[in-house]
């Protein structure tokens, strides 16, 4: 009992020392946690897969092979840590590709005037009305066509 109390006291002191130096792990965001694990050479996905295997081996060895029921909490833990199936991985990949393309298009749309101002000559920076969309000729157009026609006719006569 005395040894246990001493160990608890030591653990508490060590925790306090660690907290004073590095802060509390619980205060880290998910991204910060991953960053810290990564700094120690631990890949969070590999970690999850490894611990899932350890829990699965434990469940098989201590319960399933003995035909005993796996405790509910352990079942839940196995579900939580289960590595994603191939279909789930593909789904995630598709979703992240869609997000990437979406954000690319949004950026392009938002910055298009700025980008076009550098990339295109001055005459084409503003959208022009396509000639084929004109339903009727204006008086100016008719005059222009007429004068062009007259030029052609006169050159033929010569």
């Amino acid at each position: 009992m005395k040894k246990k109390n001493e160990e608890n006291h030591n653990a508490k002191s060590l925790e306090e020392s660690l907290e004073a130096l590095f802060g509390r792990e619980e205060d880290l965001t998910d991204a910060e946690l991953d960053e810290e694990l990564d700094a120690s050479g631990i890949d969070p996905a590999e970690l999850q897969a490894k611990v899932h295997k350890q829990l699965l081996d434990y469940a098989n060895h201590h319960y399933r092979t003995l035909d005993k029921e796996v405790p509910e909490k352990l079942e839940k833990a196995l579900r939580a840590l289960r590595p994603p199936s191939a279909a789930e991985k593909a789904k995630v990949a598709v979703r992240s590709a869609e997000n990437l393309i979406g954000s690319f298009l949004d950026t392009a749309k938002a910055r298009s005037p700025e980008l076009l101002s550098h990339a295109l000559p001055v005459q084409t920076r503003h959208p022009q009305l396509a000639f084929r969309n004109k339903k009727e000729l204006s008086a100016a157009d008719k005059d222009l066509l007429q004068s062009e026609q007259e030029d052609v006719d006169s050159s033929e006569e010569r």
């Binding site: 030591n10 792990e25 694990l37 050479g41 970690l47 611990v51 839940k76 939580a80 840590l81």
Partner: protein, 195 residues
């Protein structure tokens, strides 16, 4: 606890195990290495198995569970460190327990590991810490500030007021120091086999 919370719990426990083992590895006249050959992930998994199979009793509020499990795991790491351990030279060469049969000298006791003053006074730990903060003025300033407080463990706000910086700045320096220790705490060869 939902699935995401459980996954976070695993990562939090592993981060704690890394910190304890990193500090223990840097500490003492000889490096203390747990003979069990357990990695931080092993300690985290062991603790989760004990919890998931009702080997641990906890009656506090759910939000206090991660803290409780971290204390349990820290205890377990300390117990491992107390066992006749494998020593490794500073060169990084690990020696297995079998090869140590002729070494009857007492093993390094981790007692002083539990007190921040003793930790900071320990030459080996200080050398490792200096390596972590060598290129970072902010971290150096932070560690020096902790040493100034002779009594007890300084709170973040005490250090912030001493350095005349916002308290969030101190939180960020702590996080950075933990990452630096992670980078320097393990040799490359150990890092590869760690998970």
């Amino acid at each position: 606890m939902n699935d995401a919370e459980y996954r976070r719990l695993l990562r939090t426990l592993t981060a704690r195990a890394c910190r304890v083992l990193n500090v223990a590895t840097c500490y003492g006249d000889d490096w203390l290495l747990p003979e069990s050959g357990k990695s931080p992930a092993d300690f985290a998994a062991e603790t989760l198995i004990r919890w998931d199979t009702d080997q641990l009793r906890f009656s506090g509020p759910p939000e206090a569970l991660p803290g409780f499990l971290m204390t349990v795991m820290t205890n377990s790491i300390i117990s491992t460190l107390r066992k006749p351990a494998v020593k490794a030279g500073r060169g990084g060469k690990m020696t297995s327990a079998d090869e140590l049969t002729e070494d009857i000298s007492p093993q390094s006791k981790p007692e002083s590991l539990f007190d921040i003053r003793s930790l900071l006074r320990d030459d080996a730990f200080r050398a490792a810490l200096n390596q972590c903060i060598a290129d970072d003025k902010g971290l150096k300033e932070y560690v020096d500030a902790i040493e100034i407080f002779e009594e007890g463990i300084p709170a973040a706000r005490d250090i912030a007021s001493l350095l005349d910086v916002p308290v969030t700045d101190i939180y960020n320096r702590r996080k950075k120091l933990a990452r630096q220790l992670g980078k320097y705490g393990f040799t490359e060869s150990r890092r590869r086999s760690q998970v």
